[in-house]
Subunit: 299 residues, 2 copies
């Protein structure tokens, strides 16, 4: 059962504080180059209203492990850049052909297809540039290289790109549960895991801690995706901020398991997610709250 | 005046040896993931017949500075991955809408548009992954981070993406020389400069050496582009390995200066390029030979 929204007031304040921190840092990290058209596309996609859940997850993991926000914030922003790049690509005419995203016209609708593709490229590139450059208070080059490596693995041919390719191949075709899980554990879960990894790296977490946080993040990501499917199946475009009902030709967790079945599945994933945090004891409470909050969301 | 091809026998042998070295390393670096369709697109684009000029430039610069090939080869391959990614994007229907490249159907023609876009993304991503991971004999994380930073700057909103955006904006419109130079110094020159930088980093070059090699590479890249325009204007698709005559609606160095004027300009750039090598004395002779060779090529 989803808890009533009022139970989340403290968490919501923390989320809002971190969201503003992330957006402020993103503004400083995405400065002017020599390409006004592409920069406008980057700007409108990156600064559309968004939850910033991936960088917030990185910051919260660092908090829980008593890491320093300064040492993690730009790396957390790189996660959001990569995520935004993936949204721009997903929406392209040759992919999902979506018309709106984050409450605005999709990037290619507003800026043209070639500019949208260049904007997505620029965002992925800038993410790696931020990690390579470092920042005042950044972890050393060795630790930043490990984060860049993990990010690249989350994006690459065994990560988000694998998930997106499988998703594109799946349109108009009924899927089994294993394929559906493959798609979303790669499209969404991989970057959630990398996000927890960014926070863990900043706090010099142990291998066991990283593994536990990775399991938490992966299950959280899948639950998040199921809630997305539920919003798509039951919500309005205004509330979702993007096209809804787009998934009618796709197998989703909702079409697979029904609305109640999908809700049940999300709840189970959140329990698994919380279970992975057991060794951290009470200090991981914010991450548990975040997991409960994610399944209760309606937009 | 272009020297006759026979003058280049020693250089041609060195180029062929390095080309094979690069292709062998690329095969080891681009392994199997979980995405057969995208991997096939990566494979056919990356392993189409190609000159490998950017990684070869990195290797030759390392040679001249007595750097170690082992310490530079995977970084040199990252340059070729990024270059190939840019070719895939350039050819897309929403960009140049080209039908062939490197003697094969363009990536989107053979593999579909969405797969081509994911392949380009995967190649850029893998380039940064290689630099982040390191390899046996690699420079330390600090040096690799500097290379990744330079590569990202060569790609980004003040680099290749800026050049491509300006190129797309320029179609069907007469250009002045400054704009033409902007386009190509960014689309081509930036990655040539990064290539020289990869070689220089492996040999721990001084700031002055890097600046000189950067000037060499930038002018070489522009000359290379002008020769490309000449091949497009005068050659056949079979010899060029890609669509020719595609540039009729674009201002090129040839349409701007005429065939003889473009040849003259390329020769002047090569002289400037060689001039930048003065401080290196005789040991930079292979780079001078490379510059002469580049303007003499017909495909």
């Amino acid at each position: 059962m989803a808890a009533p929204a009022s139970a989340f007031t403290a968490l919501e304040l923390a989320l809002e504080e971190k969201r503003l921190l992330v957006e402020d840092a993103l503004r400083r990290l995405v400065g002017a180059g020599r390409t006004p058209a592409v920069e406008a596309a980057v700007e409108s996609s990156l600064f559309a209203p968004a939850k910033r859940l991936r960088p917030i997850l990185a910051l919260m993991v660092a908090d829980v492990l008593r890491g320093d926000a300064v040492s993690v914030l730009p790396a957390a922003c790189a996660l959001e850049m990569v995520h935004t790049a993936s949204l721009i690509l997903d929406d392209l005419p040759s992919m999902d052909d979506a018309s709106s995203r984050r409450g605005r016209p999709a990037c290619h609708v507003a800026h043209g297809e070639s500019t949208a593709i260049l904007a997505a490229f620029a965002l992925l590139n800038r993410g790696f540039e931020v990690l390579a450059e470092g920042w005042p208070g950044a972890p050393g080059a060795e630790a930043r290289a490990a984060v860049a490596r993990d990010l690249a693995r989350a994006v690459g041919l065994s990560g988000m790109i694998a998930g997106q390719a499988a998703d594109l191949a799946a349109t108009d075709r009924a899927l089994d549960f294993a394929t559906l899980e493959f798609i979303h554990s790669h499209k969404t879960g991989a970057l959630f895991m990398a996000s927890a990894g960014v926070g863990a790296a900043a706090a010099r977490a142990s291998v066991a801690e990283r593994a536990a946080l990775g399991a938490y993040a992966k299950n959280l990501g899948l639950a998040f995706q199921i809630v997305d499917d539920l919003i798509d199946a039951t919500g309005s475009a205004g509330a979702a901020g993007k096209d809804v009902g787009k998934d009618v030709k796709k197998t989703t967790f909702v079409s697979f398991a029904g609305i109640e079945g999908a809700r049940q599945l999300a709840a189970e994933l959140i329990e698994t997610s919380e279970g992975a945090l057991r060794a951290f004891g009470p200090r991981a409470q914010p991450l548990r709250d975040l997991a409960r909050y994610v399944v209760s969301r309606t937009r």
